[in-house]
């Protein structure tokens, strides 16, 4: 038996049989990087910061992402928006991608859906310092991959939809306390429980 197999090279033919069978099947290899796999929604790629439709920054600088980050790669420096008292924002925002473990906890912690992860996974650079993302870079990513961000937030809806109304990235705008520098707090004419004051009281009884 062994002799016949050796003479007719049956192993070879058996191997070639698989080769020829595969030749007529459709290929599944992609010509990466010319061709790429489609990435599912909710994929945890590079982080991005989002803006509202009108261009204002979503981030209110609450530092909750920083607190939630297990690898301590986020640094938020918050402040009052210059010229807009009581409006809070992140004056500086740093995200060290070299330390990021892409867990997405920060996006979960964000109360205003300012953080979203994109489908970008090609983070390789020549200089490690380029991986220290600052605020400008993160907003730039957010603008470029806005669709990814929206898809991410929709996919990862953690609650029943009330806290994160992300359909088409709804407003979810932060309600800052109003400022009335002239008449903050009690207004002088309200001393005597005037009309408005009384009506507030009535409705709440």
């Amino acid at each position: 038996m062994g002799l016949i197999r050796n003479i007719f090279m049956t192993e070879l033919l058996m191997g070639l049989k698989i080769v020829f069978m595969q030749m007529f099947k459709p290929t599944i290899t992609l010509q990466y990087p010319h061709v790429k796999h489609p990435i599912p929604d909710g994929y945890r790629g590079l982080m991005s910061l989002l803006r509202y439709e009108d261009g204002t920054e979503r981030c209110v600088g609450c530092s909750l992402c920083e607190a939630a980050c297990p690898s301590n790669c986020i640094k938020v420096v918050s402040d009052e928006v210059p010229g807009q008292p009581l409006v809070r924002y992140a004056r500086e925002y740093y995200l060290d991608i070299t330390r990021c473990i892409f867990c997405g906890f920060c996006t979960e912690a964000c109360p205003v859906d300012a953080l979203a992860m994109t489908k970008v996974y090609e983070a390789a650079v020549y200089d490690r310092r380029d991986l220290m993302f600052d605020k400008a870079k993160l907003y730039e990513l957010g603008e470029r991959y806005l669709e990814d961000g929206k898809a991410y937030l929709t996919h990862h809806r953690m609650d029943d939809g009330t806290l994160h109304p992300v359909e088409g990235l709804g407003d979810n705008r932060y309600h800052f306390p109003a400022v009335d520098a002239e008449h903050g707090g009690v207004q002088p004419e309200q001393i005597g429980l005037t009309a408005e004051a009384l009506e507030v009281e009535e409705t709440t009884r």
């Binding site: 209110v60 402040d79 009581l86 809070r88 800052f176 109003a178 903050g184 009690v186 001393i191 009281e201």
Partner: protein, 898 residues
């Protein structure tokens, strides 16, 4: 423990099955705290009466009755049994939180309290995540009109803690509730912007984010902060607080409940004066003089130039070098500075900011009673039966001691007696008031002593025990009241009435301010107060006494380190050969054999060329003293002036070498407060540039001069200093706790003829209230918001108060048609200047007040300096002067400036 041993005033109670014995009157929350059981509360403050407003502390009592009780307000009964985590308690707690959360906005992410908010914490711990009640959120605009504090009424849970702390502790009642029900808001009355002392205590007690700091707005998250317990270095109170930093930048200051002299209270300076460390005007590199310019240089070059200059003067002859130190230095730095001058430079010309007045308070009590600093602690002031304040605007000059006095007012029948030259805040609360002509403190004090002697108010035991001393005093006070009434403008009956009230108290405490110790014949005035305390039993009764308050942070450290020509380290006299010998032995050197010059004498010597080099650290004599003192010319005449400071002060501008010094937040060490407490300061911020601690600067200079004073850290210096100054050996111990007045010292003093110069002591200076060509009396004094140079570098404090305006009596202003903001010209013997006027009802007619901190040197320079005699502590009098005031129109002013 058997019941037989149980004292009548203790009761046995059980909380969560744990039994404990507590004093009668203990409330549930206090007993729970003793057992380490936490009961949630919003409105309970250990320092205040229970407010019982928030109801979150409700706990279940199972014995003797089965009921829910508020833990903060319920005093426990014997045998009481309490459950703090029973089902019923937790249910109630949850309902309470649910109700609060129907109104409280969920804006935690942007709220500055987020992360340390009690409502947040309790909601997580005890709350439910499904609120059964309908939510109704308020939407009031946030009141950001006040400079330092923002009021967000939406977040307010109406616990009333802020109003209580404002009314009971700070006692200014600047805020209150207005309206009722759902729309109740906390704020300043009349719907106006809050304009108060800005102590910030309301913000500290606020359990939620309803009151937040404008200066720290949105700049921190509690979990990002690093807390460092340190000592406030603005005034002599020495409060303890947490300096909080985010990435090495100061974010805010928070008090520590129940710790230090303040027991958790802070004033505006302590609370909001944390910006100067990061000011751009800080000196960051050593500077040396090249021509008429100061240029940056290397540390090594600066050290070698300083050492060369000082060594040159030393070589030229004994006593050609002088040293002046300030209260900004820590105990260790002062000690080393003193050693540099006396040992390395071999000069006895060592003086300090004590000379601005505090020296009299310190030396009098030390010589007479053996106590350096206050003989009473703040706690004793709180418990006093009567407090007599003389020439002491305590709420401005030592705000936290002021709070202690206010607490004394709250107990019992307003026992505070105030004598001052203006209506101070504390005077308005006081029971007895004397308002006298500014600068006549000594006559008022004499009047009080005379009243005690004449009216038979002398303490019986004192009269029995020390008849000779009492007799000696009696004979000194034989004069009439006329000589007192005329200069002071007081009536005999008023003085007698005040003396009677003070003598009637069993625990009477006298507090003398800078106008007594720094006034004309300051030492005599202070000694008279010791006499007054002696006669009324203040020196022989525990809890009573006589005290001089100090103004600068570590002035007591200066005294203990012997930073005056008449003192040696340890607080002994230079005259005392034994004390001097001890120092010489410890330093292994021979001290110069004659007593050195005081600050004013130094200036003379500098002008005359007898002193050719000086080193100044932590004080600014040129900026502090009026031009008339001649500090600028004197220091300008030196061959070498070495200055170390944080900012380019007036003195530093005239220096040949300037070293950048570190602020209290950047160095370690200890400081001594006016009670004699040695407290630590801890570094928590990075010093800018090359700035170094003063001990390091001194050490470098000494090394360069070939006389090394090497230490690895301030702890080593302190260990060495403690051999001479026993007070440095232990921290946080007050003079009172060290034993207070030593009977031996007192008796020695009495036996030794009652102090020296008894004869002259009661002679009033002839020039008292002498009318010169100018009819107004100008007083240059302290404000609450600013204590001197450092505070003015705080942009926050400058925002709260940068007023460099002249305060004058409002009635007088009306007569002269001067309104707030009008410009007035002051003309004195030393020139004239134009300032903005501010009428104030609390200033007496004929008197003007100008804050000392002001950068407007012109007003300070109007003051004519009266040099004090050696018997009077050589303290220059530079607080009062006489001026003429006239209103100037805008046109006239424009012309004048043109």
């Amino acid at each position: 423990m058997s019941t037989a041993t149980t004292k009548v005033d203790t009761i046995t109670v059980t909380i969560n099955g744990q039994t404990i014995q507590v004093p009668k009157g203990t409330r549930i929350i206090q007993a729970a705290e003793m057992l380490g059981i936490e009961i949630p509360t919003f409105c309970y403050q250990p320092r205040m009466r229970p407010n019982a407003a928030c109801r979150i502390c409700t706990v279940e009592v199972t014995k003797p009755m089965n009921k829910m009780f508020m833990a903060c307000a319920t005093e426990m009964m014997d045998g009481m049994e309490v459950l703090t985590d029973s089902e019923r308690t937790l249910k109630d707690r949850q309902t309470n939180l649910d109700l609060l959360l129907t109104q409280h906005p969920l804006d935690c992410p942007v709220c500055d309290k987020g992360g340390e908010c009690k409502l947040q914490d309790y909601s997580v711990k005890y709350g439910s995540f499904e609120n059964p009640f309908e939510t109704k959120r308020k939407d009031f605009p946030e009141d950001i009109r006040s400079v330092a504090l923002d009021f967000n009424s939406n977040r307010c849970i109406l616990c009333g803690g802020c109003i209580q702390v404002c009314g009971d502790i700070q006692q200014v009642d600047a805020i209150g509730f207005s309206k009722r029900g759902f729309i109740t808001v906390v704020g300043a009355p009349m719907g106006e912007a809050l304009d108060c002392e800005f102590c910030g205590q309301c913000m500290d007690v606020c359990p939620v984010g309803a009151i937040t700091s404008r200066f720290a707005k949105y700049k921190f998250r509690p979990w990002q902060e690093e807390k460092t317990q340190t000592t406030c270095t603005y005034c002599g109170c020495g409060c303890q607080y947490d300096l909080r930093t985010v990435d090495g930048e100061a974010s805010r200051v928070t008090p520590i409940e129940g710790v230090g002299p303040g027991q958790g209270s802070l004033c505006v300076r302590g609370h909001f004066g944390y910006h100067f460390m990061e000011d751009d005007r800080r000196i960051t590199r050593p500077l040396v003089r090249r021509g008429d310019k100061l240029v940056e240089t290397t540390w090594e070059e600066a050290v070698s130039e300083a050492a060369r200059g000082l060594a040159g003067a030393k070589a030229a002859g004994a006593g050609r070098v002088a040293g002046i130190a300030g209260g900004r230095l820590t105990n260790e730095e002062q000690y080393l500075f003193g050693r540099l001058v006396r040992d390395v430079l071999g000069s006895s010309n060592l003086d300090s900011s004590l000379r601005y007045g505090a020296i009299n308070g310190v030396t009098v009590t030390r010589e007479a009673l053996g106590v350096t600093g206050m003989m009473n602690s703040f706690d004793e002031v709180r418990a006093a039966d009567a407090v007599l304040l003389i020439g002491c605007d305590i709420t401005q000059e030592a705000p936290i001691l002021g709070l202690a006095v206010k607490e004394a007012i709250h107990k019992g029948e307003k026992p505070v007696l105030v004598a001052d030259s203006m209506k101070t805040e504390i005077m308005k609360r006081g029971a007895g008031r004397l308002v006298y002509t500014p600068g006549t403190e000594i006559a008022v004090i004499k009047g009080l002593v005379k009243a005690v002697v004449d009216e038979g108010l002398i303490d019986e035991q004192v009269a029995k025990k020390y008849p000779k001393a009492v007799q000696a005093l009696r004979s000194e006070l034989s004069g009439t009241y006329k000589e007192i009434e005329t200069p002071t403008g007081l009536k005999k009956d008023d003085i007698v009435a005040l003396a009677k009230r003070f003598a009637a108290a069993s625990k009477g405490i006298i507090l003398a301010g800078p106008r007594v110790t720094g006034g004309l014949k300051g030492k005599s005035a202070m000694t008279m107060l010791v006499d007054l305390a002696f006669l009324t039993g203040g020196l022989t009764t525990p809890g009573a006494g006589v005290n001089a308050i100090t103004m600068e942070n570590n002035e007591l450290g200066l005294a203990l380190n012997g930073m005056a020509p008449e003192l040696v380290p340890g607080g002994g006299s230079w005259d005392d050969a034994e004390a001097r010998g001890k120092v010489a032995t410890a330093w292994n050197c021979s001290l110069p054999n004659h007593q050195g010059d005081t600050m004013m004498e130094m200036f003379d010597a500098m002008r005359e060329g007898r002193i050719s080099a000086a080193i100044v650290a932590g004080t600014d004599p040129v900026g502090r003293l009026p031009q008339d003192a001649g500090a600028a010319e004197a220091l300008g005449a030196l061959d070498c002036l070495v200055v170390s400071d944080l900012f380019l002060s007036e003195t530093a501008k005239r220096a040949h070498v300037v070293f950048p010094a570190r602020s209290y937040a950047e160095k370690d060490g200890t400081v001594t407060n006016m009670e004699g407490r040695v407290q630590t300061i801890t570094s928590c911020m990075k010093a800018p540039g090359k700035a170094a601690s003063d001990w390091k600067i001194v050490s470098d200079i000494a090394r360069e001069m070939g006389h090394p004073l090497e230490y690895a850290n301030p702890g080593e210096i302190r260990a060495e200093a403690a051999a001479l100054v026993p007070q440095f050996a232990d921290t946080d111990v007050t003079n009172a706790a060290r034993g207070g007045v030593s009977t031996e010292a007192l008796e020695a003093w009495l036996a030794g003829g009652f102090g020296t110069g008894m004869g002259e002591r009661y002679d009033l200076p002839a020039k008292l209230n002498e009318a010169s060509g100018h009819e107004m009396r100008l007083y240059v004094g302290e404000l609450l918001f600013h204590s001197g140079s450092m505070s003015t570098y705080n942009w926050g404090l400058m925002k709260i108060n940068d007023a460099a305006s002249l305060q004058l009596n409002s009635r007088e202003a009306r007569k002269l048609k001067i309104k707030e903001g009008d410009r007035v010209r002051l003309t004195g013997d030393r020139g004239s200047c134009v300032v903005t006027a501010k009428p104030d009802p609390n200033i007496m007619p004929g008197t003007l007040f100008f804050p000392r901190h002001s950068v407007l040197d012109d007003v300070r320079n109007l003051v004519q300096v009266v040099e004090g005699s050696e018997e009077e502590g050589s303290v220059p009098q530079f607080r009062f002067t006489r001026v003429t005031m006239e209103k100037v129109s805008g046109v006239a002013e424009a012309e004048a400036s043109a």
